[in-house]
């Protein structure tokens, strides 16, 4: 950042930025600097695309967007040569490249196939801290179970009121103290960005187990693992996301993750709970084909994955708005008459009434097995960040 000379002279842009930085940091206005900025007249506002039924341009564009320039490829060469998770924090699905996601899923598959004896000693001698600043059943127990089944130990808390946080200690200070006791930290926090602050406060890897409405990367990874396991692939699938697409962090992260794999996405939500424009813009930019719908029936016969979500009562500022939409999507057995044979219905759980219990007995229901997949995926993440597996 900084300032650059209006008229171009000699000097590369890199040299310019370093010259600008060094001079401005000392509070002085730079003198002879040059740059190649485009002229003001060459810039213009982009027009807003219509997202009702957005079509990708071509496969060529998709490939171009996924490997935009040689510098990008040099930074992320093909899997698995440059994938290294040791000591790394897992905070957001946005931080992971396509190759890194594939590597985690492949590691989870290997762990599932691993002999019990080898598994029992994989993380022996390592300690995991589970810091749960808000209630959680599945995520906390899944992390603890994953660690213990691999021979590691866990310490932590489920009620922050019994810790120094209640005395007003900052998150940064607490994490600096906790890092002395453990090798890896898994945390859930009600405030968005808390996991990022924790990761930047310590040398130990931090795994985000959910930070408010923001990110829950291990949930997204287990969703992807489930899709891969049930469909045999991740690329080119038809995936529908149904329910609360406005506030649901799982669907936001899943849409971002699936954008690496050229899936066709169908977003089914009422007007008040539509997928935010930020995510649609991102998908359009990457050349992903998607469309928005208001009824499950419009898409159910043409999809491989139906990802249902709970409409979260606690997110609605106005209770009457919640009443309007709470029963809008109830998936019943009668709706599954003409679906694809390989269809699998997923749900991050807990469900309220989005999926009728009579669907549980159909071959399409997969939400309970989906939750079980959290174990190998979290075991993979723990093993990778601790360097037990490469």
């Amino acid at each position: 950042m900084g300032v650059v000379r209006k008229r171009q002279r000699l000097g590369s842009s890199k040299a310019v930025s370093s010259a600008v930085s060094s001079r401005i940091m000392h509070g002085k206005i730079p003198g002879k600097i040059s740059s190649g900025l485009p002229s003001l007249s060459s810039r213009h506002l982009p027009s807003r695309p219509n997202y009702r039924n957005y079509k990708k341009t071509s496969k060529k564009t998709f490939r171009k967007n996924h490997h935009p320039d040689p510098a990008h490829q040099a930074h992320h060469p093909s899997y698995p040569n440059n994938v290294n998770f040791k000591g790394r924090s897992i905070i957001s699905i946005n931080d992971l490249t396509r190759e890194e996601i594939i590597h985690v899923l492949e590691t989870a598959r290997k762990i599932e196939a691993m002999g019990e004896e080898k598994k029992r000693n994989l993380l022996a001698g390592h300690v995991l801290a589970t810091l749960f600043f808000e209630p959680s059943t599945r995520t906390r127990m899944s992390f603890e179970s994953s660690m213990k089944r691999l021979g590691g130990k866990t310490i932590g808390f489920v009620d922050p009121t019994t810790t120094s946080f209640a005395k007003g200690e900052t998150l940064h200070d607490s994490i600096k103290m906790i890092e002395n006791y453990v090798d890896v930290i898994a945390m859930r926090h009600p405030t968005e960005g808390a996991a990022r602050v924790a990761a930047e406060s310590t040398r130990k890897p931090v795994i985000n187990g959910g930070d408010g409405a923001n990110q829950h990367p291990t949930q997204t990874l287990l969703d992807l693992y489930t899709i891969k396991k049930t469909q045999g692939r991740l690329t080119g699938l038809n995936v529908a996301m149904v329910g609360d697409l406005k506030y649901g962090r799982t669907v936001h992260s899943l849409a971002i993750a699936l954008s690496h794999f050229n899936c066709r996405l169908f977003f089914v939500a009422p007007e008040s709970l539509k997928m935010p424009k930020t995510y649609l813009d991102m998908l359009a930019k990457k050349g992903i084909e998607f469309s928005e719908h208001e009824k499950i029936e419009e898409v159910i016969d043409n999809i491989d994955i139906l990802y249902s979500t709970r409409i979260q009562k606690e997110r609605f500022p106005d209770p009457t708005e919640y009443q309007k939409v709470k029963d809008i999507y109830i998936l019943k057995r009668s709706m599954l008459g003409n679906v694809r044979e390989n269809l699998k219905i997923m749900h991050p759980l807990p469900r309220v009434n989005e999926i009728h219990p009579d669907v549980d007995k159909t071959p399409y229901a997969y939400y309970f097995q989906q939750a079980a997949n959290g174990i190998p995926v979290r075991q993979a993440v723990l093993s990778l960040v601790l360097g037990a597996l490469k």
Partner: protein
């Protein structure tokens, strides 16, 4: 009015210009500020706190922008943080460095890839609103001007964020 008269009129207008806006001996002229944003620039720079001469031009004609604002501040050197603040208010601004009543350098603001400690996150549930954490924002796009909070990862339009 014939062409000759028009040319004379233009020349006399240019001659008068130095008298309209007080010429500074040493300092900085911030040009190409979007119209009606000059006061915001003066405020974020704290230009009224000292006894420096500050000259303000609002809604001036501009070939590039149609209308623009201009701010002149005497005896002023801009810091890194001040440049970031100007980039937020006026991403197309240019700076004229004045020494001995002469423009010794013409520079152009460049929007940085990251804004540190200058923007407040509008998300009430962002960790930066609850803990003593320095804010960081990544520039997502310049047109439209969008920023992403490094911590809560939400994307905001420029108009949604406020300066610290």
């Amino acid at each position: 009015m014939n062409a000759g008269e028009a040319g004379e009129d233009e020349a006399s207008r240019k001659e008068l210009r130095p008298y309209k806006v007080y010429a500074i001996e040493e300092g900085v002229v911030i040009d190409h500020i979007p119209p009606k944003k000059a006061c915001d620039v003066i405020n974020v720079l704290g230009a009224l706190e000292g006894d420096s001469i500050v000259t303000l031009g609002v809604n001036l004609d501009s070939k590039q922008m149609g209308k623009k604002d201009v701010v002149k501040i005497e005896r002023k050197e801009l810091s890194w943080e001040e440049l970031m603040k100007i980039a937020l208010i006026a991403p197309d601004a240019s700076l004229n460095i004045i020494k001995g009543h002469k423009v010794v350098d013409k520079l152009k603001i460049k929007v940085p890839a990251m804004f540190e400690k200058v923007v407040r996150c509008p998300n009430p549930n962002c960790i930066t609103r609850h803990e003593p954490v320095d804010t960081k924002f990544h520039t997502v796009s310049e047109r439209p001007f969008r920023l992403r909070c490094h911590f809560c990862e939400r994307v905001f339009e420029r108009e949604e964020v406020s300066l610290i």
